[in-house]
C-alpha cells in the first residue's frame, strides 16, 4: 500500500485504539491491533479489510467526533479499504474503474443488456413476442454454445483477476507465518457465519446506539440466495451436459427450486441492504463509496428479479426478451466482478485467514 492521507489517518486512529482497547470485545480488528505497536501500510490494509463495518466501535468511542481527536474507525478503515481495492486490482490499468464505480457498474449493466438483446435480435426469430411463436427451449433463443463460451470466458477471466488481486493482497498485507488447516477452517467459519458482524453477539449499530442483527441476516439472505442460484445453474449444467436432460425443468425440479428460493432470498437481502443505505448515519460512512455499493446491490437485485420473471414467462412469447435481459445482467455481473464491491469478499476472507493464523499470538503491552 502507498502512504496516503487515508493510511496516515488510519495509523493515527489505530495507535489511539491500541492505547485504549475498550472495543476489543466487538470484533477481530481490535485483538489484531493489540498484537502490534507499529502499523505498516500493509498492516492497515489487513485491518481495513478485516473490519466488517458493524460500527459498534464508533458509537462506543469516547473519542468520536466532536471530540478533538475525531476517532471514526469505521470511516477511516473504509477509506483504506477503498484504496486497497484500487491497489490490488489486476490488471493494473483496470484500477481506475474503482474511481467512479457506481457509474461504471451501471453502464456495464446497461451495455450488457443491450448487447445480449441486440445479438439475440439479429440471430434468431424466436425473440419477438409479437410473432406468437413460443420457443421450445432457451437454446432456441441463444444457442447453448454461445452461452457457454461467453459465460466461461468472462467468468473465468474475472475469477483469474480476483485470484491475482488476492495474491497482491497477500503479498502486501499477508502474514509472515504459514497457513495451517485449522486456520483455514476458522476463516471459512468466520466467512460463512459473518461472526464479525455480531458486535460480540449483539449485532451491528446500523444507524444509532441500538444493536440489531438486521444487517447480518440480510447479508446472509443475499449471500446464501446467491449461492443457491449458483447451485441451480450448476445443477442445470450437470443435467444438460452429463445426464442429457435438457432445460426447461419442471417447477419442482431441483434447479428450479434452488433458483427460486435463491432468487427470493437475494431480493430480500439486496433490497433490505439498499433500504438500510438510505437511513444510515452519514458520519461513520464514506459518502463517495455509496455509488459503487448501491450499483452492485441493484445489479444483484436485478439478476434475481429478472431470473424470477424469466421463470414466470418462460412458457410464453415473452421468454426470449426476458431471457436476454436476465443474461444481460449476468454478463454485466461477470464483467464487473473483479472491479466492483464484490472484491470485498475476497480480501475480507483473506484478512480473516490472516487473523486465524495469528490467533494464538499474545497482545503486546499490558500486565
Amino acid at each position: 500500500m502507498q502512504e496516503t492521507d487515508a493510511i496516515i489517518n488510519a495509523r493515527r486512529e489505530m495507535e489511539i485504539c491500541n492505547a485504549c482497547r475498550y472495543c476489543e470485545g466487538f470484533c477481530a480488528v481490535f485483538p489484531a491491533v493489540e498484537l502490534r505497536r507499529e502499523f505498516s501500510a500493509g498492516d492497515l490494509s489487513y485491518l481495513a479489510n478485516l473490519c466488517h463495518n458493524c460500527k459498534g466501535c464508533y458509537y462506543a468511542c469516547q473519542y468520536s467526533p466532536p471530540h478533538e481527536w475525531g476517532i471514526n474507525v469505521p470511516k477511516a478503515l473504509a477509506e483504506v479499504r477503498a484504496e486497497s481495492y484500487v491497489e490490488y486490482a489486476w490488471p493494473k490499468p483496470m484500477a481506475a474503474v474503482f474511481e467512479r464505480n457506481g457509474t461504471v457498474v451501471a453502464l456495464v449493466a446497461a451495455l450488457g443488456i443491450a448487447l445480449v438483446l441486440f445479438l439475440s435480435m439479429i440471430t434468431n426469430s424466436y425473440f419477438w413476442v409479437a410473432q406468437g411463436v413460443v420457443a421450445e427451449s432457451f437454446y432456441n433463443v441463444i444457442p447453448l454454445w454461445a452461452m457457454q463460451v461467453v459465460g466461461i470466458a468472462t467468468f473465468g477471466f474475472s475469477l483469474f483477476a480476483l485470484g491475482m488481486g488476492a495474491r497482491n493482497f497477500w503479498r502486501d498485507a499477508g502474514p509472515q507465518e504459514s497457513i495451517g488447516p485449522t486456520a483455514i477452517g476458522i476463516a471459512i467459519w468466520d466467512v460463512l457465519t459473518l461472526k464479525n458482524l455480531g458486535g460480540g453477539g449483539n449485532g451491528c449499530n446500523d444507524n444509532s446506539e441500538a444493536f440489531s442483527m438486521r444487517r447480518r441476516y440480510l447479508h446472509h439472505a443475499m449471500f446464501y440466495g446467491f449461492m443457491l442460484c449458483f447451485a441451480a445453474t450448476t445443477t442445470g449444467f450437470i443435467y444438460h451436459s452429463f445426464l442429457g436432460w435438457p432445460a426447461p425443468y419442471a417447477f419442482f425440479s431441483v434447479p428450479v427450486v434452488l433458483g427460486t428460493v435463491g432468487g427470493i432470498l437475494m431480493i430480500v437481502g439486496t433490497i433490505g441492504l439498499l433500504a438500510m443505505k438510505f437511513v444510515d448515519d452519514p458520519i461513520p460512512n464514506v459518502r463517495r463509496l455509496l455509488g459503487g455499493d448501491i450499483a452492485l446491490l441493484m445489479l444483484l437485485a436485478m439478476i434475481a428479479v429478472t431470473g424470477l420473471v424469466l421463470l414466470a414467462v418462460r412458457a410464453t412469447g415473452a421468454m426470449g426478451l426476458a431471457m436476454a435481459i436476465h443474461l444481460g445482467f449476468i454478463l454485466a455481473f461477470f464483467l464487473v466482478l473483479p472491479y466492483s464491491k464484490m472484491v470485498h469478499g475476497v480480501y475480507r476472507s483473506a484478512a480473516l485467514l490472516r487473523r486465524a493464523i495469528e490467533r494464538n499470538m499474545k497482545p503486546l503491552g499490558g500486565e
Binding site: E15, I16, N18, A19, C20, R21, Y22, C23, E24, G25, F26, P31, E34, R37, G56, C57, Y59, A60, C61, Q62, Y63, P65, P66, H67, E68, G199, G200, G201, N202, E209, A210, F211, P363, L364, G365, G366, E367
Partner: protein, 466 residues
C-alpha cells in the same frame, strides 16, 4: 423543553451512570422523571463515558467474572486503599449490593465482555462493559428514552432551592436560558468538581495550570457547592483528588484512558531538575499508578520524565503519544528540554547502583534493586544502557475529587444537624467520599454509582408517590 407547569415525581441532576441508574429505577417504580444533563448529547455521561468496568463481589464464577471475590476480600482491598477513610456500614452494604446488579443492568441494555485479554488483570474482580463506559451510557439512555424519561441535554442545574431541609424548586439553565422546575424528590448525581479549575485553584494555586483533567469538562461541582452552601453536611477532604501519572501531552480535558502511561516501573523517573524522587519499582503498577499523580503534582512545575532503554520499551502498554527517542541519553535529554549532563549523571549513578540480582521478571516483584541511592528502586532495576533510549513527559491527571455530600444508607442527603433532608438523595461521585475518602479501587466508582443510583431512584420514587 422542560414542563414548567408540571411537578415531576423525581428530578435527577446529572447524566452519568449514577444519574441514569437513579432515573431508570425511579421510572420503573412508576415515577415521572426529568433527567437534567449539563453536557450536550455528544458528550453526555459525565466521567462514566471514560470508564470501563465495575467491581463486583461474587461467591462463584459467573458469565463475566472468574473465580470468586468475596465480601471480606473486597472490604480488605477497600480498607487498604482508603487507609480507613471509609464508612464500614455503607461500604459493606455497597459491596454486598454489587453482586446483585447484573441482571438489572442487562435488562437495562448493558452488555458485558465475556473474558479479557491484555490490560490489568482484573478479570476476577471487575466486570467489563462491552465497548466501555460510553457504550453503557448509550444503553442506559436508550432504555431511559424507551421508558419515557424526559431528558434535557445542554441543561445545567444552577440551584436546588432548599427550605426547611427540603428542595422546593430547582433552577436550571436550559440551553442557556434560566428556568425553574418543580419535583417532589430530587436526586443529585452530578459528580465532583475537578473540572472547575477556579475552585481547584483555591487549594492548589497555579499548579492547577499544569494539571490534566482526565474526564469530562462538565463536572464543575455546581450542585455540590450549592448544596454545601445550604447546610448540607460535607464529607471528604476538599483539597484532595485522585490523580494518576499521565502523558504530559494529554489534552486538558477528556483525554480519558489513552493518555495513561505504564512505563514507570521499567524506567528511571526524574523531575525537571533531572533528579529522581521516588522508588519507581515499589509495587506492581496497578497498585501504584494512583500515587504517582500526587508525586508528580509535588514536583517543581508539576512535571516528570520517564526514561527507559530498548530492553524496557516493549514491556508496557503504548501511550497514545509517541515516545521521544534517541540513540544516547544526552540526545534524549535535549529532546525533552532537560539538562543532558545532569541526566547523564543521574542515569550513570543509577546504572552503577544496580545490584547484580535475580532474573528479571516483569510479572512479579522480582527484587532487582539499586543500592545506595536516595531513593532506591526496589524492583525491576536494570541498567538503562541499551539504545535507542525512550522518554515520556508525565503530568498529574485528575480523575475525581473526594469532597462529597454526606448520605445515609437510603441515599438520603444529610444536613449539618445530622438529619436527612426531606426529599433530597444523592448517588455517584457527588457522594462517593462517604465510602472512598482516599485512594481508589479500579471499577469502584461505577459500583458506588450503580448501587447508590438504584437506591436513590427507588427511595425517591417511593417518597414521591406516597
Amino acid at each position: 423543553m422542560p414542563d414548567r407547569t408540571k411537578t415531576y415525581d423525581v428530578l435527577v441532576a446529572g447524566g452519568g451512570n449514577a444519574a441514569l441508574c437513579a432515573a431508570i429505577t425511579a421510572r420503573q417504580a412508576g415515577a415521572s422523571v426529568l433527567l437534567v444533563e449539563s453536557a450536550p448529547k455528544a458528550f453526555r455521561g459525565g466521567n462514566s463515558r471514560h470508564t470501563r468496568n465495575l467491581r463486583a463481589m461474587h461467591d462463584q464464577p459467573n458469565e463475566v467474572l472468574t473465580d470468586a471475590y468475596k465480601e471480606d476480600e473486597y472490604w480488605d482491598d477497600l480498607l487498604r486503599v482508603t487507609g480507613g477513610q471509609t464508612d464500614e456500614a455503607l461500604a459493606r452494604m455497597t459491596i454486598r449490593a454489587s453482586s446483585g446488579v447484573f441482571s438489572w443492568m442487562k435488562d437495562a441494555g448493558v452488555r458485558f465482555q465475556p473474558s479479557l485479554t491484555g490490560t490489568l488483570n482484573l478479570g476476577r474482580t471487575n466486570a467489563f462493559f462491552l465497548g466501555g463506559g460510553k457504550a453503557l451510557v448509550n444503553a442506559y439512555y436508550l432504555t431511559a428514552e424507551k421508558l419515557g424519561i424526559e431528558i434535557l441535554y445542554d441543561t445545567e442545574v444552577v440551584s436546588m432551592n432548599m427550605e426547611d431541609g427540603s428542595v422546593r424548586s430547582v433552577d436550571i439553565r436550559y440551553k442557556g436560558f434560566p428556568e425553574t422546575v418543580h419535583a417532589r424528590c430530587v436526586v443529585a448525581s452530578s459528580g465532583g468538581f475537578q473540572a472547575n479549575l477556579e475552585w481547584m485553584r483555591e487549594y492548589w494555586g497555579d499548579a492547577v495550570d499544569n494539571f490534566v483533567i482526565r474526564g469530562t469538562p462538565y463536572n464543575r461541582g455546581r450542585v455540590l457547592k450549592n448544596l454545601l452552601d445550604q447546610g448540607v453536611a460535607a464529607i471528604g477532604d476538599p483539597t484532595q483528588f485522585h490523580a494518576v501519572a499521565l502523558d504530559a501531552r494529554a489534552p486538558k480535558f477528556d483525554g480519558g484512558i489513552t493518555t495513561r502511561l505504564d512505563s514507570v516501573p521499567y524506567s528511571v523517573v526524574v523531575n525537571r531538575n533531572g533528579d529522581r524522587f521516588y522508588d519507581e519499582g515499589e509495587d506492581v503498577w496497578p497498585k501504584r499508578y494512583a500515587i504517582w499523580g500526587r508525586l508528580i503534582a509535588q514536583q517543581p512545575g508539576q512535571i516528570a520524565y520517564s526514561i527507559c532503554d530498548s530492553k524496557a520499551f516493549p514491556l508496557f502498554m503504548p501511550s497514545v503519544f509517541p515516545a521521544y527517542k534517541a540513540d544516547t541519553v544526552e540526545e534524549l535529554a535535549v529532546k525533552m528540554k532537560l539538562d543532558p549532563a545532569k541526566i547523564r549523571e543521574t542515569v550513570d549513578g543509577f546504572n552503577k547502583a544496580v545490584k547484580p540480582g535475580q532474573v528479571f521478571d516483569n510479572l512479579k516483584l522480582d527484587g532487582n534493586a539499586t543500592d545506595g541511592l536516595t531513593p532506591n528502586k526496589t524492583n525491576w532495576a536494570r541498567a538503562v544502557d541499551k539504545g535507542p533510549f525512550y522518554g515520556y513527559p508525565l503530568r498529574p491527571g485528575i480523575t475525581f475529587t473526594y469532597l462529597s455530600v454526606k448520605v445515609n444508607d437510603k441515599a438520603q442527603v444529610l444536613m449539618d444537624n445530622g438529619q436527612p433532608a426531606g426529599n433530597l438523595f444523592a448517588s455517584g461521585e457527588i457522594m462517593s467520599g462517604n465510602i472512598l475518602g482516599k485512594g481508589y479501587l479500579a471499577g469502584f466508582g461505577m459500583t458506588i454509582g450503580t448501587v447508590f443510583g438504584r437506591i436513590a431512584g427507588q427511595e425517591a420514587a417511593r417518597r414521591a408517590r406516597n
